[in-house]
Symmetry: C2
Subunit: 357 residues, 2 copies
């Protein structure tokens, strides 16, 4: 409504005002503002000076309308401050800006009726040129996503089968993450590894579960029952209380650090030592992971690299609608070994520190 005055009136300067002041045509101003060639340095300077003097700022809406491109990308995130999603969002923002686009953000709350489809819809209403879906969860309506979306979509954190028509890429490394964690525990000498999983509706949780399962299979180990969790430390704690009485549990891979911390707390309260009796590895490397007791062994995810790489592909798909998608390469995963993991207790005479459950 109220805009900065070109001079003293209540209305914003337009390119034609700049043109008049610089003594050129409006189109020339447009050329200069867009950094096009075929403008003499001399004219360019005059235009820039005039623009600065007037406090000119080009009108985004008019640009978008005339060009048919909004130069913006929308991202759908979960409405949580969870470390993983939040970190990914920050990475996406940076990558989007580096690519010269603006970023629109829409949250989906878990249990939101509209869900991801609704979020995508509102982004489409805003006229974004591309969409990033970060850490998606299962929703009704996923299937018809591809039918309704006419812009490229980047899905971060979903397995390839989510991909549809213009859904171009999915750059995530969750199965590697789980493998790194599980292998670490196995190499330490544990006969098997329990898994404290995330909510099954999350692709990230399922990926981790599958990675754990595959690793166990590759080592020829028996697969213990999956322990359900919901990412929260509270769910890790609840799991820990149940597990504490089971002496056969010597190693647990928790699908994120919060659950790992809750788990450890319950174990400790029950008199089980970590890592002497039970080893625990988390996933994320949240800021406090190195400072809890005991410092947490965990797997770090390259959020920035994932976001950047994925966005490169999305922008490519936006700007070259007919080109084939370029392959995505998984960024490296990093195992951070700290003090919550160790070899299993008395390997030769298992199971008699206390009467087994």
């Amino acid at each position: 409504m109220a805009r900065l005055a070109g001079r003293s009136t209540g209305t914003a300067p337009r390119s034609i005002d700049v043109a008049r002041l610089a003594g050129v045509s409006q189109k020339t101003v447009s050329r200069v503002m867009n950094g096009e060639q075929y403008v003499s340095d001399h004219v360019r300077r005059r235009v820039l000076d005039a623009a600065a003097e007037l406090g000119y700022r080009r009108n985004h809406a008019a640009r978008a309308l005339a060009s048919g491109r909004a130069r913006s990308i929308g991202v759908v995130t979960l409405g949580t401050a969870l470390y993983g999603p939040a970190s990914l969002l920050m990475g996406v923002e940076r990558a989007v800006r580096d690519a010269g686009y603006a970023l629109h953000v829409v949250n989906t709350m878990e249990g939101d009726a509209a869900g991801i489809a609704g979020a995508v819809d509102s982004l489409l209403d805003q006229g974004v040129d591309g969409i990033v879906i970060s850490e998606p969860i299962d929703e009704e309506g996923d299937a018809d996503l591809s039918r309704r979306v006419d812009v490229p979509v980047l899905v971060l954190g979903a397995p390839p089968q989510f991909a549809a028509s213009r859904v171009v890429t999915a750059g995530i490394v969750s199965d590697q993450l789980a493998r790194a964690a599980t292998e670490h525990l196995l190499e330490l000498g544990h006969t098997t590894v329990h898994h404290l999983a995330g909510p099954p509706r999350w692709y990230a949780a399922r990926d981790r579960l599958e990675g754990w399962r595959a690793t166990l299979a590759a080592y020829g180990r028996r697969e213990p029952p999956v322990i359900p969790g919901d990412w929260s430390a509270a769910s890790g704690y609840a799991a820990g209380r149940r597990l504490a009485s089971d002496d056969s549990v010597t190693a647990v891979f928790a699908a994120n650090d919060d659950m790992a911390i809750g788990l450890i707390r319950a174990l400790l309260e029950a008199g089980r030592r970590v890592p002497e009796d039970v080893s625990v590895v988390g996933l994320d490397d949240i800021p406090v992971a190195a400072y809890v007791t005991p410092p947490l062994t965990t797997v770090r995810q390259p959020f920035d690299a994932t976001a950047q790489d994925g966005l490169k592909h999305l922008v490519h798909a936006i700007e070259h609608p007919d080109a084939n998608p370029i392959p995505v390469n998984d960024p490296p995963v990093e195992l951070v070994v700290r003090a919550s993991t160790a070899p299993p207790p008395h390997r030769t005479t298992p199971n008699h520190r206390r009467t087994s459950a």
Copy 2:
């Protein structure tokens, strides 16, 4: 570029296409899409059906251009996944959407040359109707912010003196947060409270420092030297190592939970018990706070309420440019008492558990 076909062509349906199909004028379609009155239910239905059949979706750019309002709000955040800023962002997103606006996000990295001013500028280029600055830090160029910004600005986390011309509100409660923490410790019987502060460039850090200082003064207690930190658990740990040898330290208020956890870790490693020897209170109530050892006493900030309330004011300022700002009321602060705080050790015979530093 490529848009969903109205039918089978490569171009999106426009309101006039809907109008033709419904047998009404284009203006009537506009009325229906905007939920205006003075449209008979009968016509409304026909238009809605036609729009649905065509897959019509109104063009945001054209709307913004014609109306002069983009119906979007921009938010400037720090490029971190820190719990506080991330939570605030989520709250802002929800509030923005509830108000019927779209959300543009721009990060400022700490040490970013352009800084907040640059971020605000890019938001202005995008034509936002209002701006939210979340958890600002000191920057060069703050002063001229008001001179350059022609839309209302909501500053979350800054003291009133940041306010300038169209900077309408600042809804934050940091000094209350600090008071709640400090008072709790004092009421427990500690003669004074040390403060592990955040980086002084952050308004939030300074607010907490001032709140702590004021509370100490109100109780007539001596103010120990401020312990510098940078929000990170690592800085808390470093502080803890230095403090561990000083028996006069019996209570510490850390400006956030991460630092509190690092601090506790260092204290524990040095053989100081928490809370028996030293009480620690954090701030934020991060998800793992209840599950670290010992469970952390902390102060919870009402991010959602703060964001909602602030946004209400911002939207008001956007939609009623000439109205006076309505006063902001601070949302309630919540002290969460857990196991990291207790009365000081042997109150009657102070300072001889170990030789003082």
